[in-house]
Subunit: 437 residues, 2 copies
């Protein structure tokens, strides 16, 4: 069964940056056969792109998708992690809530044109299960953190769950396990080292929050006279498996160490700035050769799960940080949201661009809505004009999961109703933190 | 004819900040009769808000709406104003193109829940005509600038057009003329003074770009040893009729002078930062007592015309600028986008909040879409989660112009087709600047 999408501006994001103003993409089963200008060859199914923009599926390279129940709670409250997020998670998160929240979040991701997500949370096996069922591509990382959590008495238990997750999901076609030590300052040095070694030995990413918090920075400065990145490097926990999330407070040496070791970075512009934390030096990371992907962070931290909100933010923040409008042209931002994310997850040979042999993870963005006219530069339209609501169709592994802005396989209303019901005791527990939310 | 909207979270944005979690708004003709908790009294028409958020119509306090034809053109090009925007405007903008672009832009504004817009451009009488026909509330300012433009050989002609615009539209119920000297550095001091005097004598706003450009700042520093705001003050052109747009590069004294004279400010976060210009000290302006509204700037500068994109940006940028998450809680940002804009246009007694006697300019935001769940704090949902696509219904002067996300009175497809046709020679002229776009 060959499927063709034609009559669209095809942004391949291939190494040469080919754009076919009126082009087509042909795929068979899970794989792309070819893309090019014109209408292309005959196919079993031909889908009219109606003059829209056809792009590679977007990669949301960092989130905590089961945190849907927390969205819009205490958004402007300082120190919310310790004031209500950690305690409420400990009290109220259950495997069922993680599973149902993940299903809901995947609906939102798919409807926004995100075809791959990297997640870190608790009960991550439930996240993997939900993502598997819903058809999205996912990297799922079990959290290792030096405290009691909803799914483990401490870090040791978290590491055990990582091993189980790897055991169960390694080799799956779409779902990829990760090891996810929470942050540099929330684990012992020994545990950070062991977590990294586990990831390295099993060939999976080791995703952790790095150089994000003021108190994280001062802790490492005061105790070790180092930055968090220098500290990880000294431990042997900075390497090609490392996916450092946030990387806000970075020295030139930090950036050089990441480049030298092949460590990756994920930029969460919206979440970082909504918290007033600062602006990651993404220009400098990229200039040094560090692969950078884009993440929304969890729905509690970043609220939206779509990359269009991030695209605008990244352009604005980086141009402003360096006082230079020409930086981060729209094309580079779209690349970060597709190939950038693929590289961060070491999946650049499988996803991230429209190229022969890659997975048919595709997004058709319509340009008929009022905000999408006119269209001189399709990258500009995606970065500066588009929103999640402009996503018309989405394919993962060649399977159409969104059509005309609606899920083809899942019943969103039913998923929401089931989640709402499962949130009853969560809402009761949340009452205890009413002063913050 | 009394109309009631019920079963919605009503955000009144009144002085006490009343929110009715399950409330209603009742209006008759153009005016609001009452708002409160519960279902309210009987009415001739009762509209079920379906659990959405009912808010005052948003005020987009600065735009150049006829610039739709420029959108997505050369977005990342430095110095685009002089490289292609000014020359292309001079060559290709016609009254017809301004009129049709304005009609198109008003569709976009209304669909995004913007019920009032302040515009400055050329052929502004055509903008006023389009806004009048389309039913939106508008402040329309004819541009005065010391160069040849598409509608005038120079500033003197621009000022004449301002007089004509005032003559024609002063006293209109929805359309309000303004005087709009382009910027502090693009007019002679004499002309700035005369423009302000005209505005003051006729009781209309005097809107101009202030402290926006690096070269504007250095010009005033080098030639006068002053800031642009100090310079306006010295001219007698800073006062309660002044609406200073952008106000990026502001000293403490500038802020004090604006507060002292009653001058207003409009913040265009997205446009300012997309251009890498900087972040306006909005916290300090507001702390000094300066009224601040929110603008998207034109579709060429800011691309989107909706305030939801700006809400997220403002939260992110201000919290980051001051490194404090607690600043600009969502409620304050919604206030800026409603009452803030009303105050900037000296219309605070007529619009900007849901209060007895005010105009029934109302927006119902649905919370059924995937990105809008759950809802703890409705302000948070509007600022951090919502997008223009969540706008369900819009009323201006009590007349429903948007219903279930569609225009009730206008045919968007027809308006776009007519605009597209009228853009033929514009597109040809644009070819001359292909290197930049």
């Amino acid at each position: 069964m060959r499927t063709k999408i034609y009559n669209a501006a095809v942004l391949t994001v291939d190494p040469a940056g080919h754009v076919y103003d009126k082009g087509y993409v042909l795929f068979e089963g899970k794989r792309i056969l070819e893309a090019g200008p014109g209408c292309g060859p005959d196919a079993d199914t031909a889908i009219d792109g109606r003059g829209g923009i056809l792009m590679p599926g977007m990669v949301n390279a960092h989130s905590h998708i089961p945190m849907i129940p927390f969205r819009s709670m205490g958004d402007d409250c300082p120190d919310r992690l310790r004031r209500f997020l950690f305690p409420l998670e400990l009290e109220a998160m259950t495997p069922e809530l993680v599973y149902l929240s993940s299903r809901y979040a995947v609906c939102e991701l798919l409807l926004a044109g995100v075809t791959a997500v990297a997640d870190m949370y608790y009960f991550e096996d439930q996240v993997a299960r939900a993502c598997d069922e819903m058809g999205i591509r996912a990297w799922t990382g079990e959290t290792v953190i030096d405290m009691e959590t909803c799914d483990s008495p401490g870090a040791e238990g978290g590491l055990d769950l990582c091993r189980e997750l790897i055991e169960r999901w390694k080799g799956h076609d779409r779902i990829h396990p990760m090891v996810a030590p929470h942050a540099t300052n929330t684990n012992t040095p020994e545990m950070l080292k062991r977590a990294y070694e586990l990831a390295e030995s099993r060939g999976v990413p080791c995703m952790l929050h790095v150089s994000e918090m003021d108190y994280e920075m001062s802790h490492f400065r005061e105790v070790y006279g180092k930055t968090p990145v220098e500290f990880l490097y000294g431990l042997g926990a900075l390497g090609k498996n490392t996916v450092g999330v946030h990387c806000i407070h970075m020295t030139d040496r930090d950036i050089a160490l990441m480049a030298e070791t092949g460590a990756k970075a994920v930029h969460c512009a919206g979440s970082n700035t909504k918290a007033g934390k600062g602006i990651s030096p993404v220009r400098d990371l990229r200039a040094a050769g560090v692969d950078v992907g884009i993440g929304t962070d969890g729905p509690s931290s970043g609220n939206t799960l779509d990359l269009f909100t991030q695209f605008k933010m990244i352009a604005s923040l980086q141009k402003t940080r360096y006082h230079d409008r020409s930086l981060f042209p729209a094309r580079e931002i779209v690349e970060m949201g597709t190939m950038g994310g693929a590289r961060v997850l070491s999946a650049q040979d499988e996803i991230g661009s429209i190229e022969k042999g890659k997975k048919a993870d595709l997004v058709l963005v319509e340009t008929e809505s009022v905000n999408m006219f006119p269209r001189y530069n399709p990258y500009s339209v995606l970065v500066y004009s588009a929103g999640a609501s402009n996503v018309d169709s989405v394919w993962v592994d060649g399977k159409q999961l969104v059509k005309e802005g609606r899920l083809t396989e899942a019943d969103l209303e039913d998923i929401r109703n089931r989640l709402e019901t499962a949130m009853t005791s969560f809402r009761e527990s949340a009452q205890r933190y009413a002063e913050f939310i």
